[in-house]
Amino acid sequence: MHIDQTERRYIIFALLLVGAFGIAIAISSSAYSINVVRPESQIDPKLLTTPGATAYDGFAEPPENRLRELSPGRYEAYIIGYATKGWIWEPEELRVPAGSEVTFYVTSADVTHGFIIQNTNVNMMVLPGQVSKLTTTFDTPGTYNFICHEYCGILHHNMYGQLIVE
């Protein structure tokens, strides 16, 4: 097959470039543990708040108890997204001290939602029947909005909550 000399060099360059990108991604995900969400146990969205009915008891706690301190500075938050309760996250507000490491367990009671915490690497889809889990550390005090970023109905744009780092 005829390939022009310059084009041949260019294609080799393109392959090397793509290879370099691949290596950069591999390093960033292993060495810096910038991760994407991975599968957890499945869950029945009708039984989320029934104690003992799912593998995640945190969802069955009343909203004000859905933030648990596991050890000093390490927290777990259990958040349920609802379109059917007026487009809300439950709980709508969380408070942690600066420097806390928080693991988010998020699920949906009805339709597909999305969960992004502004200015963090927490970004995941939230599907009924699945649990989305990511961990991040909040070093800087301030208010972090967690916003639903998947269309979930007529008042989708009202669905957000706040994490306050003190």
Partner: protein, 546 residues
């Protein structure tokens, strides 16, 4: 010449243009809404109930209907004119068009009646009217039939021209159509086995994770179904329009074959943030996506080299002097060259999206519509407009009404898109502003988003004006009395190295090895993960939430 094919092409183009007109007119409204100018209340009388219904219309009509009609028309024309042979089974292609129209009408009724406000991705367990899904199915089946008609024509051409190499334009058109047949199997499975039984109440629950995976099996090659006809024009037609030649015909063929095998096994790169998909499969699709970037890189080189030949033939000299000698006064050329420039940025942004964990910085933010308005909204749509500046006159037998208006249209699209997509990209990347949200009334709206949303709004308005200029020109062309003095022939560039054609390896004109590879890659990249997800099928109830 080729009366049936021409007439079908014209009808496809016309319906595509109507779809883009309605869908496109929703665009500026969205950008105005974001800066607090809400015009939706005044639209209630014409049946648009909400921002989200408008957004669904925008997505379905622009991304699915306009593109598919235009492509079915353009590829029919390109295949027939490249093979120099009328359609073998004209009635099949006519039936295909009718099926597409019936599908469109069936889907449009619930869409306009606010019974299918589920956006163009229609993620369950949102439950739209069943007729929405039935209509989409018919529409896709019609587009399959267009492909069958072209393939039968090709089969007969092969019989009549034993031992001849398939002309590039026909080959590229047919590869696109074959890829589409396989790509749409994903959405066909989702709609037939999951959504239609669900929407009509035969089942009361669905697994959203399985449905999404089938959707994105289709959703990414959909992107290449849009893009490949534009590539076809850039490779083979635009160099001719610029007085150049195809720099590397063999590489162009190889690129299209690579797109055939690599377009489908990458869909999970839309699902990096999906909870139910194992990370190993995400990483595998990320790797294949990086490979898929290579044929696009080759295209960038090859097409620019072909245009450079044209610029130099026109008297251009020096390192960059040939650029000025390109036919910038020809709206068909200018539109497509500007589309290419925007696509450079669309491509880089796309690579960011595809980069596995880097995706978390932009997933489902305003960055994403910023990105795909550079790709499907510019590389594809502006190129299709450029193509229509010669194709539409060729079909109606009348010259383009106004070249000046065509140039204004091309440049306003270019400028409007730069402003809009720049604003949207930064909103997503810097502020994590969500896409698909009625931001003007959102409680989380922040004042520091405002300047960028105003920039995007100005871009959106310029795009709206550009769209109007396009339609004025098209209607002006059709309505005028003036006839073409000479018929327009499809522009096809000669190869720069005619001697390369003789030594072209046989595998560049053989279907079997490529189709076998494509199927093998699909089975490897999707078989186990689909089996795994389906074996853990976890159905949940449906809702209507709009």
């Amino acid at each position: 010449m080729y009366k049936t094919a021409n007439r079908l092409t014209l009808w496809n183009l016309a319906l595509g243009m109507v779809a883009l007109f309605i869908g496109g007119s929703m665009g500026p409204l969205q950008k105005l809404e974001h800066v607090g100018i809400n015009l939706y209340s005044s639209l209630r009388e014409i049946g648009i109930a909400s921002y989200y219904q408008g957004l669904t219309i925008h997505g379905v009509l622009n991304a699915l209907v306009w593109t598919t009609f235009f492509i079915c028309g353009f590829l029919t024309y390109a295949t027939v004119n490249s093979l120099k042979r009328e359609l073998s089974m004209p009635r099949l292609n006519i039936a295909a068009f009718i099926v597409m129209v019936v599908g469109l009408v069936t889907a449009a009724v619930p869409l306009l009646g606010n019974l299918a406000t589920v956006l163009y991705t229609f993620y369950p367990p949102m439950r739209a009217s069943g007729f929405f899904y039935v209509g989409l199915t018919l529409f896709v089946v019609g587009s399959w039939m267009v492909g069958w008609g072209l393939l039968f024509t090709y089969r007969d051409w092969r019989r009549e021209n034993k031992g001849e190499k398939t002309p590039f334009v026909a080959l590229a058109s047919l590869i696109t159509m074959v890829m589409w047949q396989f790509a749409t199997l994903g959405v066909a499975a989702e709609i037939l086995f999951i959504l239609i039984p669900f929407a009509f109440g035969l089942t009361d629950a669905v697994d959203p994770q399985v449905a999404r995976t089938f959707f994105w099996f289709f959703g990414h090659p959909l992107v290449y179904f849009w893009l490949l006809p534009a590539y076809l024009s850039w490779y083979a037609m635009l160099p001719k329009q610029a007085n150049g030649k195809m720099f590397s015909e063999s590489m162009a063929r190889l690129v299209f074959w690579l797109f055939l095998i690599l377009s489908i096994p990458v869909g999970i790169h839309h699902q990096y943030t999906d909870p139910g998909v194992p990370t190993g499969w995400k990483a595998m699709h990320a790797t294949l996506t990086l490979l898929l970037f290579v044929p696009s890189m080759i295209t960038a080189f090859s097409v620019v080299a072909s245009l450079e030949i044209g610029g130099r033939n026109n008297g251009g000299t020096g390192l960059l002097g040939w650029i000025r000698k390109l036919p910038w006064k020809d709206p068909s050329y200018a539109a497509q060259n500007l589309a290419m420039i925007l696509f450079v940025f669309g491509g880089i942004g796309g690579l960011t999206n595809a980069s596995y964990n880097l995706n978390v910085t932009v997933h489902n933010t305003m960055w994403v519509p910023g990105h795909f308005h550079l790709t499907v909204g510019s590389a594809v749509t502006l190129s299709f407009m450029g193509i229509s500046y010669w194709l539409f006159p060729a079909l109606v037998g009348k010259p383009l009404w106004s070249k000046t208006l065509g140039l204004w249209q091309s440049w306003t699209w270019f400028i409007g898109m730069i402003l809009m997509s720049n604003g949207l990209h930064i909103l997503g990347l810097n502020f994590g502003v969500p896409r698909r949200s009625s931001l003007g009334v959102a409680e989380y709206l922040q004042s520091d988003w405002q300047p960028l949303m105003i920039e995007a709004m100005i871009g959106g308005i310029i795009l709206g004006v550009s769209g109007l200029l396009y339609y004025i020109n098209i209607i002006g062309t059709a309505a005028q009395k003036k006839k073409l003095e000479e018929p327009i022939v499809m522009p096809v560039a000669e190869p720069y190295h005619p001697e390369e054609i003789a030594v072209q390896p046989a595998w560049l004109d053989r279907w079997r090895p490529w189709i076998v590879t494509m199927i093998a890659l699909i089975v490897i990249s999707y078989g186990p993960v689909l089996f795994d997800l389906i074996s853990r099928y976890n159905p949940v109830a449906g809702f209507k939430v709009w």
